[in-house]
């Protein structure tokens, strides 16, 4: 494929782009005007807003691997971890490349929560949304030694014993919202104990300090299969293939379960043709065997929404997060 660039002149620079640059407060210098037909004509920069080895990193690298294996992106893809500030650094990098269709990134829970916590300069609504591919939901877990077999037993136990100690990662996070909502709807009292890392959260429960925790299936499945912890509930829309006996929260009559969106985004104000091109390619990606393997192995729930549907989803989830956290007093 020819790698031609048109010179950037005042004549070819459409007024729309100038307006956009002014609106986003960023220089138009990073934006190159090109023929939509020729997209993509350059190397791609793939930004991962978290460190290597995390859920977001593994998803991004799986996607890049699929794009390369199946020759879906005709040029080179440079993958870079830009971690820091719970995603603020990585997605901030996309913000500073507003309008550039050659920078992509993937989303996770912090995409919605970090702007609620800190002055990031962006919110989820600023970016160009390509598509939601899957959601990462939570398992509600109790230690095997507690002898609790199902959700009904748990709610009864929790209501009887008074405030129960439950844990999760962080305060301004999905974990807290889910714990608070479940307790409220099932009618028991909780003392929510926030943790910074998964290892300490899990040992806190195994040591007998916590009565229950929520965890992503990917990090808890090993212990569940080993029989050390009992899963009682899954917050996803459908039951997990790996745990067909664990009911969903909806089946037990609980509503408003939030989850982490795993999707693909472009910088704010990226051109429509780029977004459409990516939607077309990602439609192919989600059909590949490698992607299906990834979904199964990491116990994600497939949830595909393209373009505007993804935007609407993010808006709903974002509002939900904000309302819930405000209600619980976690953000002001």
């Amino acid at each position: 494929m020819p790698n031609t660039r048109r010179p950037l002149t005042a004549l070819t620079l459409p007024a729309a782009l100038a307006l956009l640059a002014a609106a986003t407060g960023c220089g138009a210098g990073t934006t190159l005007q090109e023929d939509p037909e020729e997209y993509p004509s350059q190397n791609l920069e793939w930004t991962i807003a978290f460190g290597p080895g995390g859920g977001n990193d593994i998803m991004s690298r799986t996607l890049v691997d699929i794009l390369n294996e199946h020759d879906l992106y005709p040029h080179d893809i440079a993958v870079e971890n830009r971690e820091g500030g719970s995603g603020a650094t990585g997605w901030g990098h996309l913000l500073s490349n507003s309008g550039d269709p050659y920078v992509v990134s993937t989303t996770s829970g912090s995409f919605l929560t970090t702007p609620l916590q800190a002055d990031t300069g962006w919110t989820h609504a600023d970016f160009t949304h390509v598509g939601l591919l899957a959601t990462d939901d939570l398992l509600f877990l109790v230690p095997e030694s507690a002898g609790i077999a199902d959700w009904a037993e748990w709610t009864e136990h929790a209501a009887d014993t008074g405030p129960v100690a439950v844990g999760g990662i962080g305060t301004v996070n999905v974990d807290f919202i889910v714990q608070a909502r479940l307790a409220e709807q099932a009618g028991y009292e909780i003392e929510y104990v926030p943790f910074n890392d998964e290892g300490q959260l899990q040992t806190a429960m195994s040591s007998g300090s916590l009565d229950a925790i929520v965890s992503n299936p990917g990090s808890a499945m090993g212990q569940v299969k080993g029989g050390d912890i009992t899963p009682l509930l899954f917050t996803g829309k459908e039951r997990l293939d790996a745990l067909p006996d664990v009911p969903t929260a909806a089946e037990e009559g609980h509503k408003g379960m939030v989850s982490m969106p795993r999707g693909l985004i472009l910088p704010p104000g990226a051109p429509d043709y780029a977004r459409d091109w990516w939607i077309g390619v990602m439609r192919k990606v989600v059909k590949t065997k490698e992607w299906r393997d990834y979904i199964t192995k990491n116990h994600l729930a497939e949830d595909i929404r393209w373009g505007d549907d993804f935007t609407a989803y993010l808006k709903d989830s974002g509002d939900e997060f904000e309302a819930s956290l405000r209600e619980q007093g976690a953000v002001k």
């Binding site: 460190g51 290597p52 080895g53 995390g54 990193d57 593994i58 690298r61 691997d65 993958v79 971890n81 830009r82 971690e83 820091g84 500030g85 719970s86 603020a88 650094t89 970090t114 916590q117 800190a118 002055d119 990031t120 300069g121 405030p163 100690a165 962080g170 305060t171 301004v172 003392e191 929510y192 104990v193 926030p194 943790f195 910074n196 890392d197 998964e198 290892g199 300490q200 899990q202 040992t203 806190a204 195994s206 040591s207 007998g208 300090s209 916590l210 990917g218 990090s219 499945m221 090993g222 212990q223 569940v224 299969k225 080993g226 029989g227 050390d228 192995k297 990491n298 976690a330 953000v331």
Partner: protein, 515 residues
């Protein structure tokens, strides 16, 4: 199931040419990464993990684990030669290693550290081989109250570390705590001292602070005391007189601390959280307490280098226990490895060793071999690294400053952290000038936030009562350890003084009365 049959299979799976090659690459890269100021084990792993995407799982883990413990060996080189610890667990080793190097004993100090690392790494791997599942129970019995007590024990050892100048020590610790409060408060979700900057919401990292306070602070101090005008010739002479191998006296001094540090490190390394750092701190303070001449500590005592160095390396192996048997990461480095497990398509958890024996046992087998490789490589490379002590300070200092800046930037790609590093350099210089303890500051920076978090978690769990710390058996055991730690250093000198006094009194009674 026979442990040795598993181990034999593991050895067989490691002995393929490809795996051996990757093991060699791992230890080499690990050692050199560790030898760059700022790049410790966890940063090294994070940089290399993406390269293993798509590799066979056993080959990948063998290589990455080698990078992990290789970086621990390499980190000692920067600790000893340029006073820059690569992670919080190697801070105590720096306190004795660098003065030894200044005395012209750089090569023997590095050899002792390498041998301590080798003995500890190998013995710890033996313990891992035979006793991984039972020791995993220690890890899973540690909830927030126990972690809090453990961290407090680590903080108590700072009393020993700062020695007599307790006012300066206290100020240094408070400074560390203060820096540690920056960032989002995990319990409340609010920002503290971030001034709205997203760069600071995850707090101030250990690396830039340690490099600044230690490495850069030392350079500024050397310039201040006129060290740049000294000719390297005198250092060189001293180094030559010191020869290559440590003296018999030094070996004798190192032996027992290594024997004590190894099991201590393994045991605490198993505990998720602050195991390695607390282990090397306890080792350091134990050696100082047991020493007949504690006044040599801080001026190049071999015991204070060998003990913590052994503890630190066996803790790295100990942290493999919860990783392999429970799928729980105990440290920043093992968290990256755990991410790797998932990246290579393995399910971490209690069934990992049963379902993927060639993976788990291949890793364990490779650790024996990797430690041997590292010892050989260290002995071979040490004179090369130690040659920096022969470079004129005026030439060396700018190079070290550049390396410090480069190392700091590489970890997170953050220019703000480079700024923090330079700021802490000036701070480190002032601390030396006024007799404060940079070591106490960085340890407090690492342990302070963990202490705060686990204390708040404990109190949330108990509904606000401190009874939670005496209700559980592991906590009670830790309280016992703490009591011993507090009482022994106070009691022994007091007892000594009492004996002296009595002897003096007796003398006085017998003496003729003064006119």
């Amino acid at each position: 199931m026979d442990v040795f049959a598993h181990l034999a299979n593991g050895i067989a799976s490691v002995l393929s040419p490809t795996t051996l090659l990757f093991l060699l690459i791992g230890v080499l890269v690990g050692m050199f990464i560790g030898a760059i100021p700022g790049l410790g084990p966890s940063a090294g792993l994070a940089i290399l993990l993406p390269l293993t995407f798509g590799l066979d799982a056993t080959t990948a883990i063998v290589m990455l684990a080698a990078v992990y413990y290789g970086a621990m060996y390499g980190g000692t080189i920067t600790s000893v030669l340029i006073n820059t610890p690569g992670d919080s667990a190697s801070v105590p080793a720096t306190l004795e290693g660098y003065p030894l190097a200044r005395k012209g004993r750089a090569i023997p100090a590095l050899i002792i550290a390498a041998v301590a690392s080798f003995v500890a790494g190998t013995v710890a791997t033996v313990i891992l081989t035979v006793a991984a599942p039972p020791t995993a129970r220690i890890a899973s019995s540690f909830g927030p109250p126990e972690l809090f007590l453990l961290v407090v024990i680590g903080l108590l050892t700072l009393v020993v570390l700062v020695g007599k100048s307790w006012k300066g020590g206290l100020l240094s610790v408070v400074l560390g705590f203060a820096i540690g409060t920056v960032g989002i408060d995990v319990s409340g979700g609010e920002q503290r001292y971030t001034f709205g900057s997203t760069e600071l919401i995850n707090g101030v990292d250990f690396i830039p602070v340690a490099i600044g306070l230690f490495g850069l602070g030392e350079i500024l101090w050397t310039i201040y005391r006129g060290g740049h005008r000294e000719t390297p010739a005198e250092m060189d002479l001293r180094a030559r007189r010191g020869a290559f191998w440590p003296s018999r006296q030094e070996w004798r001094e190192a032996a027992k601390p290594i024997a004590r540090g190894t099991p201590l490190g393994f045991l605490l390394g198993v505990i998720p959280g602050a195991g390695a750092t607390v282990a090397s701190l306890i080792s350091y303070s134990t050696e100082k307490a047991l020493s007949k001449r504690p006044e040599r500590f801080g001026k190049g005592a071999v015991e204070g280098l060998a003990g913590p160095e052994a503890a630190n390396n066996s803790a790295a192996t100990g942290s493999m226990v919860p990783l392999l048997t429970l799928g729980i990461p105990g440290s920043a480095s093992t968290a990256v490895l755990l991410g790797g497990f998932m990246m290579w398509g393995l399910q971490p958890g209690p069934l990992l060793m049963r379902d993927n024996p060639e993976f788990a046992w291949g890793l364990i087998a490779s650790m024996y071999l990797g430690n041997v490789m590292l010892l050989a490589m260290n002995v071979f490379c040490i004179p090369l690294f130690a040659a920096v002590t022969r470079i004129r300070f005026a030439t060396l200092a700018p190079l070290i400053i550049l390396l410090c800046a480069f190392g700091t930037f590489t970890v997170n790609g953050s220019i703000v952290e480079v700024g923090i590093m330079f700021g802490c350099g000036v701070l480190g210089f002032c601390m030396r000038l006024y007799g404060l303890s940079p070591a106490a500051t960085v340890i407090a920076l690492v342990l302070g936030p963990i202490a705060e978090e686990t204390l708040r978690q404990s109190l949330l769990l108990s509904g606000g009562t401190f009874a939670v710390f005496v209700e559980r058996t592991p906590s009670l055991a830790l309280l016992g350890v703490m009591a011993v730690l507090v009482i022994v250093p106070i009691a022994i000198p007091a007892a000594k003084r009492a004996l002296h006094r009595r002897a003096a009194e007796r003398e006085q009674e017998g003496a003729p009365p003064l006119t």
